[in-house]
């Protein structure tokens, strides 16, 4: 089993290497216009330059901190609001229509508004990442609590459990499972929010660099930045996956 998996991984890596080699060869043979499709070696050179000169760091820090702050805030607010709305019907009546509306529109349309409200610094990017994550997590928690397994609730009640026991034994573990199930989507949303926010108006960040690359027709820089963002998201996915395996051992 283990060996078979290793082989799949090897085959995939081999395919990628062949693809990159063909790309490089086609570029060198003059089949691809470097203005549109730069060679992989050119993209690598840009990456090396970005890290070598250290110019990339403030941008990385800006995007990363906006995404993480938005993610954490969005998780916190989404969880609390979801729990309260599920338990207090009055709150649900007020909050649910707003959330449905926010869920229906592509929330990135709020980016220009956030720039006016929170300025071109980190605030507007955090706000966008936050609103993307918070709505997702709100619905995860809100619908999750209302659909919690009634049989488990009755089981705990008939064994003598009260509200506290129900929360500890049934609701919280269910909650952890639902949220971890959505965590990867939420990470993707947080980075979307941060980068799109930087497109709209910023003086720093990967999104800002991307829009700069676009205005100067620098395809190599764009590809390098896309690669960087992918690498970052994959890194966080790996961390989320570890957390998932640790906390959801019982799923086997």
């Amino acid at each position: 089993m283990r060996r078979a998996l290793d082989r799949v991984w090897l085959r995939q890596l081999a395919a990628l290497v062949v693809f990159l080699a063909l790309w490089e060869a086609a570029g060198r043979a003059g089949l691809l216009n470097p203005l549109y499709v730069p060679r992989p070696s050119a993209v690598a050179a840009v990456l090396l330059e970005l890290f070598g000169s250290g110019t990339i760091w403030p941008h990385l820090v800006a995007t990363f901190s906006a995404a993480m702050a938005g993610l954490l805030l969005g998780l916190a607010v989404g969880i609390v609001l979801g729990i309260v709305a599920a338990l207090v019907p009055f709150v649900a009546e007020i909050v649910e229509p707003f959330m449905i509306l926010l869920n229906a529109v592509p929330r990135v349309v709020l980016a220009p508004l956030f720039v006016i409200w929170f300025g071109i610094d980190l605030g507007s990017k955090i706000a966008l990442a936050f609103i993307l994550v918070a709505v997702l997590i709100f619905f995860t928690v809100y619908t999750g609590i209302r659909q919690v397994d009634r049989r488990l609730v009755e089981r705990v009640v008939t064994l003598g459990g009260g509200r506290g026991a129900l929360l500890r034994e049934v609701y919280l573990p269910s909650l952890v499972a639902w949220i971890l199930g959505q965590l990867k989507v939420a990470v993707g949303f947080a980075f979307t929010g941060a980068v799109v926010g930087e497109f709209v108006a910023a003086s720093r960040g990967l999104g800002y660099l991307l829009s700069f690359a676009q205005s100067t027709y620098n395809a190599a820089l764009m590809l390098a930045l896309v690669l960087l963002i992918v690498a970052f998201v994959l890194l966080i996915f790996a961390l989320a996956g570890r957390l998932e395996r640790r906390l959801l051992r019982w799923r086997g």
């Binding site: 397994d149 049989r151 488990l152 008939t158 064994l159 003598g160 573990p173 051992r249 019982w250 799923r251």
Partner: protein, 251 residues
């Protein structure tokens, strides 16, 4: 030990599913409720547990809520707790320390033939094993009255016979009082001292009571060869058929 008097149960305001049901359960007896689907058997158990409010009538018992245990049709084990933690749950809710509860849970798992499987999560157990964990979970609280709602319906025939026999041995040695809901007439007769037959619902009633004079301790297989078994099964089957065809005529 438990008296149900004139009990009516309804899902909605209009039609009671069960009407004017009365029955008595003596301490140490094994009582079964049999009847067609939809005759309110499960609802009656839920009402005794306080999970459903009767629309009329009374349930009288000298037992505290903690002295009544219930085994549902599905296992309903907490998937995020190991077998031992599931069994320990009721004990911990009763105020035992975690360590003592888990130690006692392991003893009960061993008694039910699951020694060494305490660390497994429910997902890693077979259907029969999960049923035994659910049984251990309830028995660990040492209920004086045990309610069971078709507990073994989902098991294959051989597993079912084995779990039932183990349960019967425990019930007889602990002198537990049992109220069992089942579709299976033979199972009801082999296990019980008293069998109540319910008519078809809605407005189901308790239509007859049968006393089963097979001596204890019993074996679920050899109880069926006792001379009293066949005539009782025939009478029960005849009466139940009449209930079901009565339903057909009414429809």
């Amino acid at each position: 030990m438990l008296r149900v008097a004139g009990l009516s149960l309804a899902y909605d305001e209009t039609t009671p599913v069960l009407e004017d049901a009365s029955l008595a359960i003596d301490a140490g007896s094994f009582v079964s409720l049999v009847g067609p689907s939809g005759s309110g058997k499960s609802s009656l158990l839920r009402a005794i547990m306080g999970l459903q409010r009767p629309s009329a009538g009374r349930i009288e018992t000298e037992l505290a809520p903690r002295e009544i245990g219930i085994l549902f049709q599905d296992d309903a084990l907490l998937p995020w707790r190991s077998a031992a933690e599931n069994v320990a749950l009721g004990l911990r809710l009763g105020g035992e320390s975690r360590a003592r509860a888990v130690a006692e849970a392991e003893i009960w798992l061993g008694r039910l033939g699951l020694g060494g499987l305490g660390d497994r999560y429910p997902r890693a157990l077979s259907g029969g094993q999960r049923k035994r964990v659910a049984l251990a979970q309830v028995l660990a609280l040492k209920p004086r009255l045990l309610l069971m709602d078709e507990p073994f319906a989902s098991l294959d025939a051989i597993t079912r016979a084995r779990v039932t026999q183990d349960l019967l041995a425990l019930v007889e040695s602990e002198r537990m009082t049992v109220l069992l809901v089942t579709h299976d007439l033979e199972e009801a007769l082999a296990l019980s001292d008293v069998v109540y037959l319910l008519s078809h619902g809605p407005r189901a009633r308790i239509s007859r009571r049968y006393d089963v004079p097979i001596p204890r301790p019993r074996d679920v297989v050899t109880a069926r060869t006792h001379p009293a078994f066949a005539p009782l099964l025939e009478a029960l089957w005849h009466d139940l058929s009449r209930e079901v065809t009565g339903e057909a005529v009414a429809a």
